[in-house]
Symmetry: C4
């Protein structure tokens, strides 16, 4: 089953710089969950947009056929890490249809808060 | 009133393995809320995708005419249970139009966190 | 500015039966936020779907021109109140285009949890 | 990469009037995250809708080319501030395609709650 689109955008982006719990699972983080339901690999190019400077990227990731990649923005390093406590946005361009969902876990306070939304699919 | 699409995807998926409250209502869980507003039953086939192995499924569920099924991923067992603390994604294929919404309740910490989003509707 | 669709669906629905705070603003509740950006009134018919019985409705509400109505499912009474601690779903049919967004505030635990998603727009 | 639509709506809107933390980052607030991925500036006109009075606006903002603006409704002042503890909705009209996402941070209680959804894209 192939499902998805080749162009996606997430207008919200913000990685809290603090966490009350430093374990990987409870660290404050943002994730782009990418589903590649195709039988071919998805080569994805990600651009990050900011409030006051030029976009950074592309970050390049490959999602294998019939796999999902829950990509943490916290883990991006090439060409540059994602600054904390900073507004950003992102776009995704893939050579095959994919599905992109955005999630944040905020653990600045003793209890966690979550948000999630399907990203915007372009044509 | 018939509303919906026959193909859906949820790119995010993660069932926390811990809960501070083991009651069914407050146990950490993920749900695919399926609405079948048709006058015919909806036969739905679900596939689960993972980061590092082949998809598992199909899980088969039937939603009766004019009914909603809030299906907990925690409850899926055939062909295999959904692993906890593990990234996954899912696709849904139905023989009649349905609407699919994704929700997580995370009760790892004393207070609960919630997320929800409409799933992505394919063509 | 006219924006929206005439048919909408929300597959998730669940009003927690408990609240730590009984003030109207912090009581556990679900809301269908309806925007009518038209210069004509929107006559909206709502149906509620359940897991194991026939749909209930229509509930009829009117949203005045250029107004928003944040309709609490908790407040619906005619033809019947919405049961608490019960899975449900809903559909909306309007005579003019509207926009529908779904929100839940869960205050069963001392701190609140929130979820929100744009509803699914049919054709 | 150009992505987005020129007309958007957010049916939910509510800025809690209280916060346990008055720092800018943890103050209760709502944000319209706007991404302008074009090489031209986006001139955006925002209208606010209420339950019982005429819309207020337009609020006019410009998003520079290849930038994102995470616009806090709390910060809008011209032609009028956004009332707290009040239901509202909003529409966005831009001269170039943009992407709009809605987020609320609620810090009325000691721990924060978050919600987010992609806004509704009109034609």
């Amino acid at each position: 089953m192939s499902i998805g689109k080749t162009h996606w955008a997430i207008a919200e982006g913000y990685i809290p710089g603090k966490s009350v719990d430093d374990s990987r699972e409870l660290l404050s983080h943002e994730t782009a969950c990418i589903l590649n339901a195709n039988d071919a690999p998805a080569h994805v190019r990600i651009l990050l947009y900011f409030a006051d400077r030029e976009p950074v990227g592309p970050y390049e990731v490959t999602v294998a056929p019939r796999r999902t990649l829950h990509l943490r923005f916290n883990d991006l390093t090439d060409p540059a890490p994602v600054p904390r406590d900073t507004d950003y946005a992102s776009t995704f361009e893939s050579d095959v249809p994919i599905v992109v969902q955005h999630t944040r876990l905020d653990s600045r306070h003793p209890n966690i808060a979550l948000l999630s939304t399907m990203a915007f699919a372009g044509n």
